[in-house]
Subunit: 329 residues, 4 copies
Amino acid sequence: MAQFSQKVTKIGVYTSGGDAPGMNAAIRAVVRVGIAQNLEVYGIHNGYVGMMDNKIERLQLRDMANIIQRGGTVLKTGRSTEFMKPEGRVKAAQHLKAFGIDALVCIGGDGSFRGAHALWEEHQIPCVGVPGTIDNDIYGSDKTIGFDTAVNTALEAIDRIRDTAASHDRLFIIEVMGRNSGFIASHVGLAGGAEEIFAPEGNTTVDKALDRIKEAKSRGKTSSIIITAEGQKPGRAYDLAEAIRKKSGIDAKVSILGHQQRGGSPTAADRILASRMGAAAVDALLKGYCDIMIGTEGERLIQVPLDLVTKHEKKAQLDLISLANILAT
Amino acid sequence: MAQFSQKVTKIGVYTSGGDAPGMNAAIRAVVRVGIAQNLEVYGIHNGYVGMMDNKIERLQLRDMANIIQRGGTVLKTGRSTEFMKPEGRVKAAQHLKAFGIDALVCIGGDGSFRGAHALWEEHQIPCVGVPGTIDNDIYGSDKTIGFDTAVNTALEAIDRIRDTAASHDRLFIIEVMGRNSGFIASHVGLAGGAEEIFAPEGNTTVDKALDRIKEAKSRGKTSSIIITAEGQKPGRAYDLAEAIRKKSGIDAKVSILGHQQRGGSPTAADRILASRMGAAAVDALLKGYCDIMIGTEGERLIQVPLDLVTKHEKKAQLDLISLANILAT
Amino acid sequence: MAQFSQKVTKIGVYTSGGDAPGMNAAIRAVVRVGIAQNLEVYGIHNGYVGMMDNKIERLQLRDMANIIQRGGTVLKTGRSTEFMKPEGRVKAAQHLKAFGIDALVCIGGDGSFRGAHALWEEHQIPCVGVPGTIDNDIYGSDKTIGFDTAVNTALEAIDRIRDTAASHDRLFIIEVMGRNSGFIASHVGLAGGAEEIFAPEGNTTVDKALDRIKEAKSRGKTSSIIITAEGQKPGRAYDLAEAIRKKSGIDAKVSILGHQQRGGSPTAADRILASRMGAAAVDALLKGYCDIMIGTEGERLIQVPLDLVTKHEKKAQLDLISLANILAT
Amino acid sequence: MAQFSQKVTKIGVYTSGGDAPGMNAAIRAVVRVGIAQNLEVYGIHNGYVGMMDNKIERLQLRDMANIIQRGGTVLKTGRSTEFMKPEGRVKAAQHLKAFGIDALVCIGGDGSFRGAHALWEEHQIPCVGVPGTIDNDIYGSDKTIGFDTAVNTALEAIDRIRDTAASHDRLFIIEVMGRNSGFIASHVGLAGGAEEIFAPEGNTTVDKALDRIKEAKSRGKTSSIIITAEGQKPGRAYDLAEAIRKKSGIDAKVSILGHQQRGGSPTAADRILASRMGAAAVDALLKGYCDIMIGTEGERLIQVPLDLVTKHEKKAQLDLISLANILAT
């Protein structure tokens, strides 16, 4: 955690990396709390792309009307390779300074925070991070903005597929998002009554899954659902289906939920989390704290140095998977 | 259309082929109207599979409690290759006669109706069909049970994906169900504001789609959505994305909505349609009509000979696609 | 139906009366089809209120971005007593003529169409009506924009209440919208499995309802739901509950669904209906037809003279209520 | 917290008080974890009513199939005045002992836990409580089962009403559940962007609310929403509307969300919470702990003596209301 002493009068806010439902609620909180504290607030479009391209504009209270319930991000997001280099960040810092922006709120994930940390280290532009990603895999915060919505969206799809699985006595393999972490998979699997869950952190195997499914069948269960995280690239569900077919002759159906998990109107929990975090980020800057992320620990908000956030991994709770296994008997 | 004179006292009901939301409402209507008319009603499980395997049981009023709002089919469904042969149907007819079942209500699609027609022709078991399929591609009925729900389910997913498409300024290709017909694609495309719609009945091309997208871009649109029907097998969206990438360098994201389109609690329209059709099917049998399907023509229910139904194709309205093209400018 | 010969170059569009989901899709269709036909399109705010106050502005293609999925109406709506008088309409006509607006599309209900008809009669401003009201009680059209969404919204609430009714073995009386007509009540009642439905057009009584509920109880049903249309003012459900308590001692719970039935993202059917009707309204004006409403007859769009529309009443189908009664046994 | 030494072999589970979404997931967890631990599990119907009436039956794994996603409670619930007296509890204890039930899991709220505590004190029947109530007002647990679902259900209704409020430039007063606590009101108000929130714990007044609304109007806001908890009996929203009309002449519309807030398919968070708590309750009994409730503290499950739970009140966080006030500017 770092502290700074210059007075904050103009702040910039941007969303970066993958979009997540609730980002708009966070932007709204930054803008409205900022203005309530007599700050000028500037929106930077398309994340670091807009910082490079000088796509920056002042935001007013009314610009935030009617956005709390909308998915995506009104500031749009983007990924910039140019910003990844020191020369790029020199340019970004110049743009920010030309606007007189003296502090930033960055809404995004790991990669976005690394950029924010670099801006502070290299150009002394104070920044506070707000964790916005459906994957929930940010170290230092129990929850990230968008995770609750994504899990509920995936769950709705799974509830629907179960209707069909049950009507046809079938095995379904459903692939959810979560490249490096099994948060979505484990939560959705437990909530959706899945027979088996494949998560990057887990250690189940096709053999174990088949044992479980056969056991369930012997007890009268006629249809089953396996949830898998997407793995390094989408399509892992097809590989699983093929392995199951080879080992058992069972013809599993595959469904890849895909990008719909990112969108949609945010749940109450995500809107509240985003509102609280956005407000806390502005408060922290006004108190002279920076190079931190706002996180949650239970019901409380905490401040975590960006350095810690980006250097550690947060792993999904395997106990949810064990519980799901017991409960889906 | 055929008529028969024997008195109906015991009827059987079954669901066959792909499941569709609203099938339970139709079963409920058959059972409850049947019992209100002093009939005994028997449920045949897993469609023709259960007819072959003698999985038949009497249904009572209370068995239908609390199912109108549920997706899938409580009678389950199935596909039987054995029943496709005359010997198979001999066996099926024997089972039905052993139970004293003197008429049938078949809830399903084209293939299911062909089976019902054969039972009438070969074994004089009167049957009335009720069109239940999410694809809406049954000749003789404006609407089929499950179509409205499937379209709304797909539309919700598309609304969500649009959030993400807009946040990243991206082109998305979304694949919906509809192997041989573009009903879902055209309805969802118009309702979802898609820039282009690929339907089996349509004549658009990758070039036309690209023209449209570039034109839209020139007018300030930064994200676009293409809807495609799945084609002969799922995955057509990937082929389109590849063709677009080759021709234009644009990197489109793909989302295949898949089986979730079959499930879910039926919409009001599907529950009402299913209730009315199920009731009408029993009424028709009681009046001595058979070898027909109950269809809709606007708000009215009509009777259509099964022969006509299975020999004609029903094609999606291309005017919805033209309208969608104009409106997505 | 009337015809006019002047060339149309600038059209105005407005929403009037109660708002209904899908109105935005209709506005979008009017604007985009109009512009595609080289018309200038003007939006009149707050219905006739804006016509009186000169709140009129030109609409462009991009103004219609991202509204097809939104409830309410971006043009807002209103009720004007001033416009109800001839002097008021003189003023309205002057404002329209000052903008050069030579034809109108009015999206609303009965009352709104009477205003449009008067503008044509008194000031020769041609107008085409598009029926937008959740009540579905517009003569000349099978369906109105917003009805399908309202029914589904009410149905979701009823499905939820049934969970609670069943858990407590209770009788619930649920009040839905529909001041003068029982369309919502009858559709929601049938789709929601209600034991009894009170509609303005119906002839059931508290005694009949109690008989039905007691009969259901004797067959093992432990919870029941009664649906009632709101009647001349909201609160009819409380009167029914009181009457039931007095006659039977049964303590019914009351739930009044209220204004949430007006809002929400429109269903696919409403978006498609609105898109088709909006487009057809512009087409009709371009062909010189006016003083008509676009209606539906089954799947087809038709044109109905406004005079007919406003002078006749459309009544809910009581056969849906009879069917609901049989099916809820 | 108490400990007991007798071996547990047969446990009973029941739901009591108001029903809450997720109760079925908790029952499922108790039954399946219990059976996995070689216990016999008995379901007691209608809460203490069934304990008095001996409505108790053994539950098997398959009885729990397909209920995790359903609202309400398959064991039904009830309120028993007889059980409130010591003589009643003597009878209840006799019934339990006749079945050989040697421990209980009680899913419910404050009142239900008082009953469980009395059974332990007077009859040494060990019991573990699981907090199930949409109100979230149970001391000792951050979250209760059903709260998250109820908040999201109310939020959906509010999002819909906002469409209508915005289309008519109106003030709406929406009444949510929460007799003695403002948890639902404060969460829904913040997430729904409400201008003012009336909670039992709060200290806002009609005058303050009017000031806020006028201020918002002066900044260009044309519609507003006030959220109120129901207060000691439903209908507080009407009183507020009347007070506002008298003081300001503003004609506010009222909507009382009512019982739909109790039902519906539980959210992912509620299913997971219920699954974890149900499992933890069985674990606690197997370890010889009783007279406790399973609660949450952040992400962790904790054990809280029932005595503490029933003697303290848990109050809603007023800071959410302050934040909502700032963010709705």
